[in-house]
Subunit: 155 residues, 2 copies
DNA sequence: TTTAATGCAAAAGATTTGCAACATG
DNA sequence: CATGTTGCAAATCTTTTGCATTAAA
């Protein structure tokens, strides 16, 4: 649940370095918000971060928490579980498969792999609970988005 | 993008079987909503399903789409990408790791595995775009939830 | 000081719910 | 025909935005 003290300190140092490098102001709020995510292993959502930060910083507002979390995400200091900024998506493919998801446009494609289907999970996972499904999520940038970002060679 | 005709038909048959078995009414709306998810490989969200179903069934309402998709999910006829009914969750752990997620309470725990870190993806994935990260998502029911569901031996 | 960041309040967006009308089994 | 399901409208919940004030560099 809790991240090791040493590790949290390292993350804080890295956080400060990146903010300075990017010329982004190192505010009290940003420190506390990042520290809160850095020190827990339970992957809180914005509301949970807000509630926890509030204990140390009673005047912080929820919209600052949102803005800060996305900023940290853009700076590569945090990531999101599941594909970010997306609504729930549904899948009628019940056979064992895996996903490639484009970070930019949300394009998603199934892929199959008998190799991946037989992955052995470490024992530590079994002790967490009963396993129902295992699948691989590949994040990247789809061909289309890669194309559209390339500087045009001619215009 | 499109699922094979034969496969769609199989899914429809299974859909009907399950609905009958569960004593759930087989309405026109439910058929069209399920068919729409069954026939595409792009994992639409509720709004997209709504827009597509509307073409065949102009009177369908968005709330029916939501109700139906969650019903189908509960019946095991569809699944969701990412953990269902959850808000975006943030993670400050930048080292390579994987997740166990409890389907019932959302409890999430990181785990590590050098084995998993070296998974070879099939070539077909490379052709989809540029890969940035690969990680394994294990879904299951955590110990706590398993406990709480067990019929009490004494009361 | 200068400019970016915050907090507030309000807007926008997404999802859910109560209920009368309706369709299915 | 009885009951579950739908569509509508309204409610609720979540996330974002505009703007005056405040604080960091």
């Amino acid at each position: 649940m809790k991240t090791e003290k040493r590790e949290v300190e390292e993350r804080m140092t890295h956080f400060e370095t990146v903010l300075r490098r990017e010329g982004v102001k190192l505010t009290h709020q940003r420190m506390e918000i990042f520290r809160e995510v850095a020190r827990t292993g339970d992957h809180p959502d914005a509301e949970q971060v807000f509630q926890r930060v509030r204990k140390h910083l009673p005047t912080v507002s929820l919209d600052t928490v949102y803005r800060t979390l996305w900023l940290l995400n853009d700076l590569g200091l945090v990531t999101t579980l599941g594909s970010s900024r997306e609504r729930t998506r549904f899948d009628a493919n019940l056979s064992s498969h895996h996903h490639f998801v484009c970070e930019q446009c949300g394009f998603t494609r199934d892929f199959y792999s008998t190799e991946l289907d037989k992955i052995q999970l470490p024992d530590s996972v079994d002790s967490l609970g009963e396993i129902e499904a295992t699948h691989v999520e590949v994040r990247g940038v789809c061909r289309n988005c890669v194309e559209n970002q390339k500087p045009k060679t001619q215009s």
